[in-house]
Amino acid sequence: MHELSIVCSIVELASQAAEGRHVRRVIIEIGKLSGVEPEAVAFCFPEVARGTPLEDATLDIREVDAEARCDVCGAEFPTPDMLSACPCGSRQFQRLRGEELNIKSIEVEEAA
């Protein structure tokens, strides 16, 4: 369950950035090949957020499809799993997307 550590990091980063304000929403990005299960993150989040500035915040998870560029033929192609190869048969490629594990933004409340 490394997702618990991931959620702790999210809550910690967002709490620090919020600087005492209540956080209403956290938008994160999880690549399909990041090794992190979005369902497990969503499951842990309310519990870890309890008693923090993120209590009752909405966790908005955006999954990112994985794509790579082939070193041999130059084509960009989807890599739905870790075993995907280029349609040309090559296994030498650079991953372009799909390994993201980022906090995009947070929304905080401020008294006017």
Partner: protein
Amino acid sequence: MCTSCGCQGQGTTMTNLQTGASAEFAAGSEQDGAAHSHGDHGRGHFHGEHHHAHDEHHHGHDSHAHGHDRSHAHAHDHSDHDQAHEETHRRLELETRILAKNDAIAAKCRAWLAGREIVALNLVSSPGAGKTTLLERAIADLSGALPLFVIEGDQATSNDGERIRAAGAPVVQVNTGTGCHLDAEMIARALSELKPSVGSLLLIENVGNLVCPALFDLGEHAKAVIFSTTEGEDKPLKYPHMFSAAKLVIFNKIDLLPHLDFSMERARENILRVNPDVEIVEVSAKTGAGMQQLYDWIRAQRTAVKEQALV
């Protein structure tokens, strides 16, 4: 795990088996500057200026190099509430890697190790693949030739640490409690306790788990997966993240091959499907067969690390 987010601590303890000193570390109690820094987020996307931003929501933050703070304060009229009040919502663009803190600490560990020409290997495997036996063998074989230090990670007990100490290497045992992997902060703290010497080999035995440790950079030179012949040949396909992150795969327990249906060829094919660039050695930590190949690989890494240190 962290005091600022309030999440429950995982009860990590660290034991120096040379001195017997044991400490529980609640993260956030900062003892050494190298380890933990809440003010330093690695990517520098956090802006101290937020303190002062409250009354300038509609101003561009031109002092911010990253320009992330596209604040869009908007008044919400909660007129359907009894006590109508105005509240503004502000979006803060963070664009930060979630593991930025771990990665920043790992980078410090890596720099610390590089400056001392220490080769650090992060050894990962399923439980029971033979990590500790492999370490015992390496300690015995390399004794006198190469100073060797060990950080032992397990959820509980210092059994493995005791075995390493008995084998003759300085060792710090980290017990992760409920944690399923070592992280960079544990390594930073273990390093300050262990103090590996210049030019030494540091072997980090991670928690037996092929899933979680793949994600956490410890500042190591390379990850090595120990894959024993008593496991299925399809393990690389089942745990591709770990095999993909590794620089070396160590087949262990090759002495058992005559008694098993394990196909080395199929297992190799599966490894290379996941990671075409990985190097593979075949050993028996029990009999010592093939260990020389592993030591040659380690010596090659040492040479590379030394050359990098000169650049």
